[in-house]
Amino acid sequence: MVSSWTRLHKFMAAFGVMAMLFIVACGSAAPETVEVVREVPVEREVIREVQVEVPVEREVIREVEVEKTVVEERVKEVQVDKILVATPTPAPAPEASIQSEGHLRITYTSMGSDGVYPKASNINAGGKDVNASMYDVVIGSDAQGAFSKETGLANDWSVSPDGKVHTIHMRQGIMFHNNTEVTSEDVLFSALEVMEEDAQNAFINELTPLWDSYDTPDAYTWVINCHTPCLYAPWIFSGVRGTEGMIVPKAYYEDIGEEEFAKAPIGSGPYQFVDQVLGASVEVESINRPHFRGGAGGSIPKYAQITFLGVSEETTRIAMLKSGQTDVIDVSRERIAPLADDGFNIFYKERALLSGMYFFQQWEEGNPFGDIRVREALNIAINRDAILEHIFLGRGSTTLYPMGSYAAASGYDPQQSSYPYDPDRARQLLTEAGYTDGNPLEIKLAIYSFGGIAEFPRMIEAIGADFEAVGVKVNFQPTEYGTLRSMRRAWSLGGGWVGPWGTHNRAAPAEILSIVKVLKHSEAPYTTYKNPEFDAIMNQAFASTDPDEVKVLISQMQQHLLANYDGIPLFEVDSSFAAIPEITYWNTGKDSYDNNVDSLFFPELRW
């Protein structure tokens, strides 16, 4: 019995020792990780220093092996309590202060699609920002939504007089995160990837029918050949649009395959991929060397680490902001004032988001929306001013969908953008169209949540109530955006379906033309409008190589859509972000699909 107890004690002692060792081992794991993380910036620092000191960057590439040796030595120095001693390449003291520092956490309503590479077409909510941090686009853009020769891989481009050939010249010496140079071969490969059938990219479909071939006459020149004029081709590969213009390294991508690339994507942007929790977060870290998007001569990204988070509940996002779990959130307009009162900084992307409604399949026989009186009645039944004032707290204006005020310089007239509120005339029109109290117009009104416009369901309910007030019988159809989109593409929304939609305000004629074509041209794969007269205007605009003529035609398109009540134009509203007091600057820009996150990454530029 005694020996049993002894054995038990020994066993317990041994178990205790093992447990302590286990705890110590586990506990010691974290510092090791930290050390590794710390080594990386030091390594990057040396690379950066070399680039600064050696004017010809290509020479740096040849010296990579030497640099690695230097890096290892410096890491050891850091470990001995950051005492600066003589090194083969001593770092000047001032440069240490411009390293990337700190951790920025941005929380969005949604991270968009799961993939963080161009082919996954992550343009919604935070997805585009994540991609923008990791990849460079072919054609850069500025805060006004115009092309920029400073912020993209291309530093010059031109189009042939017939509008069919675009020649794009790229800057030299831009490196991917695996230290290979970006060339026109990578650009060509990336463009072909987003044109593949399984690619999720939408905008490239506008070019595909017109595209003839791509050429790469040299390592820094890329040529797009179209068989008909394709003036807007550069827009598709620009930062203003989706992810079509983002460039991946061909060799690395082909070497590991798409599946592995999706897990460890590489770009040439100011931040490189670290980790992803699908649907929840993406973590990137600074390349810690100057990047050309940071202005002339390049500069180092501000933050050492950025975590992008997706949290659908607004109250949770606000709670995270208030409790210090995140630094920036996207927030609906009605939550702005309380957050501002609490000392948070608010950044607006003014009039960024457009909303409207479609009369689906209105050209079909028996569809009530085939009657223009019905379309007009529903349009003037809505008290837009009340909805704008009370639901969007006045942060926006009425507008034509999908054209908005950004297009004011492209032929669009913001003054003629909507319809009056006249419920009496709406009732009269419905009566004339044969709909009475005993035989009311019945519609199916889709209701769902839309990323970026948290007020969407409330707006739809208010509109439904306005319809009911003029005698329309409204059957609300709760659904999801994806479901409704699938139904729309399958042409299964006949018989009185009305659906709300949202998109981004667009500035350039090419952008206006492309979005209107997708949504309103008779031959578009999921059009919501079919009218030969309108098609003719649009075809003329697409064939034109005269910018002034295109503006006139856009104006004509606006007048046509307004006169024919093709849909229900609603509002353009500000999108808004709240940030901790330490973040004092973010020019969210006027790019339609871009929050201009470079102004967060390189705030000293004051975009």
Binding site: E313, E314, T315, I318, A319, S332, R335, P338, A386, I387, E389, H390, I391, I447, A454, P457, R458, E461, A462, G464, A465, E468, A469, N475, F476, Q477, P478
Partner: protein, 299 residues
């Protein structure tokens, strides 16, 4: 004389039953009963009790607080929601939806479940095995997921919500009633009925079923709360009663975004759900105690 003696003999039994009834009533859960009465009354007579519309927004009055808070008024005693609709009005009409769903679901689910339980317990054998395995399968399936799949497939409306819940609810009744029948069918009065030449149907309807009514009543009452919760959950998830029809679950959901600024939009319908469910559960407990002779003797 014999009649007189029978009458005299019956009087104490009658008195005894009267005493028991009085005792049961004395122990009745008054507060839960009052809540149930209020919910049923306001749901039934809602159009007479409120001047407000349940669906028509009044945007200028959105997010008005309840009367006891600064900025509140008797015009909207429980405040308004994000579209300016009167919460008290929507609460009353929402109660109507909950009661309707409960009544129809329990009628359909309870009816089917009771019938299957009677047949399963009475006939036994393969019939019993098939019925009970079906019930087991149904009970094993997550109710919310099942209801969402069904509602998403056929569209959300009141009828589909009732069908979705009833399709799961029947199994609960089938199991309990079958258990009762298994015990009852061994009793002498069933054997005598068989000897007397009663058909199976007659035995089921006139001998077995009446003896399960007490259990059924208790079960029905206890399930009201469960049905309300499931309906509210479906509405909360957007798979229940579509807007703008008020339902307590969707009202809670509507207020989620305002929990920190306009708590009443979510909290008041949430409180209504909680109080109603607790009231029905306590009432069911009391009913069970009252109708179960064993429990009654213990008490």
């Amino acid at each position: 004389m014999a009649t007189t003696s029978t009458a005299l003999a019956g009087r104490p039994a009658f008195r005894q039953r009267g005493k028991q009834a009085a005792e049961a009533l004395r122990r009745a859960p008054l507060i839960p009963l009052a809540i149930i009465v209020i919910v049923v009354f306001t749901a039934t007579f809602a159009p007479l009790l409120t001047p407000h519309s349940t669906t028509q927004p009044s945007l200028a009055d959105r997010l008005t607080p309840p009367v006891w808070q600064e900025g509140g008024s008797w015009e909207n005693p429980l405040g308004t929601d994000a579209l300016g609709r009167d919460l008290a009005t929507r609460l009353m009409y929402g109660g109507r939806v909950s009661m309707l769903v409960a009544v129809f679901t329990l009628a359909i689910g309870g009816g089917i479940g009771t019938a299957i339980g009677l047949v399963s317990g009475y006939f036994g054998g393969r019939v019993d095995a098939i019925c009970m395995r079906s019930a087991d399968s149904t009970l094993a399936f997550p109710i919310i997921l099942f209801a969402i799949l069904l509602v998403v497939a056929v569209g959300p409306n009141l009828a589909n919500v009732v069908v979705a819940i009833a399709l799961v609810l029947w199994a609960r009744y089938a199991r309990v009633i079958r258990g009762e029948v298994l015990a009852l069918k061994e009793r002498d009065f069933i054997a005598r009925a068989r000897v007397a030449g009663c058909s199976h149907l007659r035995i089921l309807l006139f001998h077995l079923f009446p003896n399960t009514v007490n259990t059924l009543l208790v079960l029905l009452t206890l399930q009201v709360g469960w049905v309300i919760i499931v309906e509210a959950s479906l509405s909360f998830l957007g798979a229940g009663i579509p807007p703008p029809t008020p339902a307590w679950g969707s009202m809670v959901s509507d207020g989620r975004e305002y929990v920190d600024t306009a708590w009443w939009v979510s909290a008041i319908p949430g409180l209504a759900i909680m109080l109603t469910v607790v009231a029905f559960n306590l009432f069911g407990d009391w009913l069970r105690d009252t109708l179960d002779p064993k429990l009654r003797q213990v008490s």
